[in-house]
């Protein structure tokens, strides 16, 4: 069984087995009913773990949709005498449709705007519900049916409990499958930075919508089983405090962990059920608990457990190595690899397995975990040996045939202009780049270099002008569409996925899942294929020995190299690099220069850099921007000699 399969089956099995046992043994007692109640909430939080925890799409929509599921089932049951078990899937479908409509509007926003817009949802919902008598108004809606209809109370209790456990197990299974699939990797990157994700081919608008709908459907399912087991829908199910309670459950348990989300729901409900004092003062308890958990570890209980396991592992793997870690802000290989954000807290990511085995065997890896953290990282890490075969390796993805050399340029910018509210940032930029070669883009701060890169990459639309790739107008194409056309880029700040290995980070750009829907990943995942392709690129770049290392344990230079590898892995036709040398020492820049020259022989590279020496050394042609205008376009010798350039930039 593949590792991915194991990681999704294990937690599901755990939930299923434990749940069934508890229901059978305690089903008719108070403990059992608390468990069932928390299982209802856990269905909701499992979805939240995927949506909010991993993908950072903070939307406050879950309590509302829990209400949709609950009230819907209640209405269908009391007015149409529909059995709860039939009404449930109907409501889930209804919720999906509603979420699709609402989500297509809401997910246009990102980050804080998304959060604020959806913050209104609970207010709207509670205002509507408490005033609508059809839904029982402020009193609530009762149900006549039960989740497992039976004349015997004990049978209905146990039956209802078992069905709830089944729902929970399915929820956990679906969530885990998604997270361990290749789309899961897409979601990770989406959570790190939406722009980076788009530049790596992730169809961000679609994924955001899918996540929104997913979260809402899970919530509706949770609401439905809630109604079926509690037989009553209180108005407080949809108010803001309910939403916040759900968030607290998620964060306490561990926002990035599906099992954590389940545990969080259990913890809160049991606390409420355990003592009357707690139940009455639940607000105080939740407030204190959330604050304390956030202070100790923002990843919640799952994070605490993971760190604990990792410490244990690294302690066993080599006390000497681990001891050298203490001062370092980064974490050792083993520690960070196991705290890798994985779908379960029990088992760990592939990275951990191979890393710890490397750590334990000790010998295989020339660089021991401990050495990573020392103040002066070992440069034997980095061997910039480029296999000549790199240039001619078969491409990872289909791409259009390159244009015949010489005549038609690969990239053309014609008359590009960009204004931001009256301020002109780019003015009449005309650039042509051939299919191969290394080209520099320089200029003082604020001259528009990054903006031009953004225009070419697609994250910023120009106010005027056109961008042509192989003669075709791509000006209106989105970043992920440009990625498919062969444009790949890096950003100024390092945006790697913390807690994942180098291999996974590079695999982000090798994913073949972009066109697929999120639901398909329940069945099959092609993550291993992407990983293989990433491994190939890493080998060609001489970086294979660090492929199992967790990225935050790397030096800045190596992190930059990982980003370069990620940009290079899909064999792009145009590579846009944004200040790759920033923060590097002189010696590191020499190595970078060698790398860049090799890249220039494989593809077309446009390099934005402040280090004029570096640019002059490696570029065939250099463009200089000042005040949004192109003031120089020529070779390196002319560049050094040009009076325009010298007066503009502080002397070489």
């Amino acid at each position: 069984m593949s590792l991915a399969r194991k990681r999704s089956v294990a937690p599901t099995g755990l939930v299923l087995v434990a749940g069934v046992l508890i229901v059978l043994v305690y089903g008719e007692q108070y403990t059992g009913s608390v468990f069932v109640l928390s299982a209802c909430y856990a269905v909701v939080t499992a979805g939240m773990a995927v949506q909010i925890g991993f993908s950072q799409q903070i939307a406050f929509s879950q309590s509302v949709f829990m209400g949709v599921g609950a009230y819907g089932v209640a209405l269908l049951n009391t007015h149409f005498n529909m059995p709860v078990l039939v009404a449930t899937p109907i409501m889930m479908v209804a919720a999906a449709i509603a979420a699709l409509v609402l989500g297509s509007v809401v997910t246009r926003a990102s980050g804080l705007a998304l959060a604020v817009a959806t913050l209104m949802l609970p207010l709207i919902a509670v205002g509507y519900v408490s005033n609508t008598n059809a839904l029982g108004g402020p009193v609530g809606a009762p149900l006549t049916g039960q989740l497992w209809p039976s004349s015997s109370t004990s049978a209905s209790l146990i039956g209802g409990g078992l069905i709830t456990v089944a729902f929970l197990a399915i929820a956990v299974f679906v969530a885990s499958r998604i997270l361990t699939s290749d789309i899961g990797l897409e979601l990770f990157v989406l959570g790190v930075d939406e722009r980076t994700a788009a530049a790596m081919g992730v169809r961000t608008p679609r994924r955001k919508l899918e996540l929104f709908v997913l979260g809402c459907v899970f919530a509706a399912a949770g609401g439905a089983v809630y109604a079926g087991t509690q037989q009553f829908v209180p108005e407080t199910l949809v108010d803001p405090t309910a939403e916040l309670a759900l968030l607290i459950m998620l964060f306490i348990g561990g926002r990035r962990s599906v099992i954590g989300a389940v545990v969080g729901a259990l913890v809160i409900q049991y606390l409420q059920g355990a003592s009357n004092w707690v139940s009455v003062n639940i607000l105080v308890v939740e407030g204190v608990l959330l604050t304390v958990v956030l202070l100790v570890d923002p990843e919640g209980l799952a994070g605490i457990v993971n760190t604990g396991i990792a410490r244990l592992r690294s302690w066993r793997a080599g006390a000497a190595g681990a001891a050298g870690v203490s001062g370092a802000p980064g974490v050792t290989v083993a520690t960070s690899a196991t705290s890798a954000t994985s779908a379960t807290s029990a088992t760990s990511a592939t990275s951990a397995t191979s890393a710890t085995s490397a750590g334990q065997s000790g010998a295989a890896d020339a660089v021991l975990p401990g050495a990573v953290a020392s103040a002066a990282p070992d440069d034997s890490d980095m061997q910039p040996v480029m296999a000549p075969a790199l240039a001619r390796t078969s491409s990872v993805r289909e791409r259009q045939a390159p244009s015949p050399d010489g005549s038609a340029p690969l990239l053309k910018c014609e008359g590009i202009g960009k204004e931001y509210g009256g301020l002109s940032v780019l003015d009449d930029i005309n650039i042509a780049l051939p299919a191969l070669g290394l080209f520099g883009l320089c200029g003082p701060n604020g001259a528009g270099k990054t903006t031009l890169l953004n225009v070419i990459g697609g994250s910023v639309p120009p106010s005027r002008g056109q961008v042509l790739l192989d003669g075709a107008d791509i000006t209106r194409k989105l970043p992920h569409e440009r990625f498919y056309l062969g444009i790949s880029r890096t950003f100024q700040a390092v945006h790697l996925i913390k807690g994942r290995t180098v291999l996974d980070n590079v695999a982000v750009s090798c994913l073949a899942s972009h066109q697929a829907g999120i639901v398909t990943r329940i069945a099959r995942s092609r993550l291993d294929e992407a990983r293989d392709k990433a491994a190939q690129t890493l080998t060609e770049l001489g970086m294979q020995h660090m492929q199992s290392r967790e990225v935050s344990s790397l030096t800045l230079e190596n992190q930059r190299m990982v980003e370069l590898a990620r940009a290079l892995a899909p064999r792009p036709r145009l590579l846009l690099l944004d200040e790759p040398a920033s923060g590097l020492s002189e010696q590191q820049r020499y190595r970078l220069a060698d790398m860049l020259r090799a890249f220039g022989e494989m593809t077309c590279v446009l390099l934005v850099e402040h280090d004029l020496d570096l640019v002059a050394q490696v570029s065939q042609r250099i463009f200089v921007l000042s005040g949004g205008r192109l003031v120089f376009d020529g070779g390196p010798t002319d560049f050094r000699a040009s009076p325009v350039v010298n007066s503009l930039l502080v002397g070489l």
Binding site: Q56, I58, V105, V106, R108, A109, S110, G111, L112, A113, A115, V116, A117, T118, L119, M120, L121, L123, I124, G127, Y128, N131, G191, V192, D193, E194, R195, P240, T241, L244, L247, I248, F251, V280, N281, I282, L283, V284, V285, E286, G287, V288, L290, T291, L294, L295, P298, H495
Partner: protein, 294 residues
């Protein structure tokens, strides 16, 4: 004159939203945290004074001062203990988690404590200015409402003078504009952070005391006020107090008009739906930074 009276009522609540929105915006600029507990401090002010005065029998001025002092001390303690660890410690936390959730939790906590101390009934601080509502040109002015407006103008005016005409006020602005630049000039950004947090809490409590006679508060009232003030601040992207102020007034008036003309029961619901739609329609125009990476 229904319209006029509605506008006046809307101005009263709007001025509270406006003040709270300004508090949220100013503090966010300095700390990068959104204070979602603003309304809860107001609630504590109202219910605390009511409890001390009515239940414990303390003279009114003593009750007010004690409540404000407790609020101030608590706010100071919260910043020094919780926020210090979150922001100034070795593991400085960033991102939307810190921005939102710490004060979410605080809001819960305060509500829960209020429930413990004051119960679940509706209460209000005693009216500070007793009497019939005043009438002028067929417009009705509730005395408490006038008091609220007066407080808003005084406090707002004092703050404006402080910002514009004192070096301390300019230093406060500097903290919000560029924390690095502020440190270089010798400005203690952390001190301003807790000063503003304390100030926000006390100001909120004052408004709670003054406004509660109009509507009455329960221990959960704080949440809605927090949210609306927070929303008004959102309309300046959380960074522009001026816009937040205007937005607060606007929302207050809109709320009153919707309740009076459209539908008393669903008025608030429609209001929130409109506000949400506005955020979705013009996120850039309203000043939201896009994608926050957590």
């Amino acid at each position: 004159m229904k319209f006029g009276n509605l506008v006046i009522a809307g101005l009263v609540t709007g001025s509270i939203y406006a003040v709270f929105a300004v508090c949220v915006a100013v503090w966010y600029r300095v700390s990068n945290i959104l204070n979602l507990a603003v309304g809860d401090f107001a609630m504590v002010g109202a219910l605390g004074v009511d409890n001390l005065y009515r239940v414990k029998g303390l003279p009114l001025p003593v009750a007010i001062i004690t409540t404000l002092a407790v609020v101030a001390v608590f706010a100071y303690a919260y910043d020094r203990v919780v926020l210090r660890i979150a922001q100034d410690g070795p593991r400085r936390m960033e991102g939307i988690v810190v921005t939102f959730f710490f004060t979410f939790a605080l809001s819960f906590f305060i509500d829960g404590v209020a429930k413990m101390l004051f119960g679940t009934d509706v209460h209000a601080a005693p009216a500070l200015w007793n009497g019939e509502s005043l009438t002028w040109a067929s417009l009705h002015f509730e005395r408490a409402g006038l008091l609220v407006l007066a407080c808003a103008i005084i406090i707002g005016g004092a703050f404006w003078v402080y910002i514009r005409y004192t070096l301390g006020g300019k230093a406060l602005e500097a903290c919000g504009e560029n924390a690095v630049g502020a440190r270089i000039a010798g400005i203690d950004t952390r001190r301003y952070r807790w000063l503003i947090f304390m100030g926000t809490a006390v100001i909120a409590a004052i408004f709670g005391i003054v406004e509660s006679p109009i509507t009455g508060y329960t221990y959960l009232s704080g949440a809605t006020i927090s949210l609306t003030g927070f929303l008004a601040a959102a309309y300046g992207g959380f960074r522009k107090p001026g816009r937040a102020l205007v937005a607060g007034l606007f929302i207050g008036i809109l709320e009153a008009l919707l309740g009076g003309y459209v539908n008393a029961e669903y008025g608030d619901t429609i209001l929130y739906a409109l506000l949400a739609a506005a955020v979705l329609a013009w996120p850039r125009g309203l000043g939201f930074e896009s994608a926050v990476s957590g």
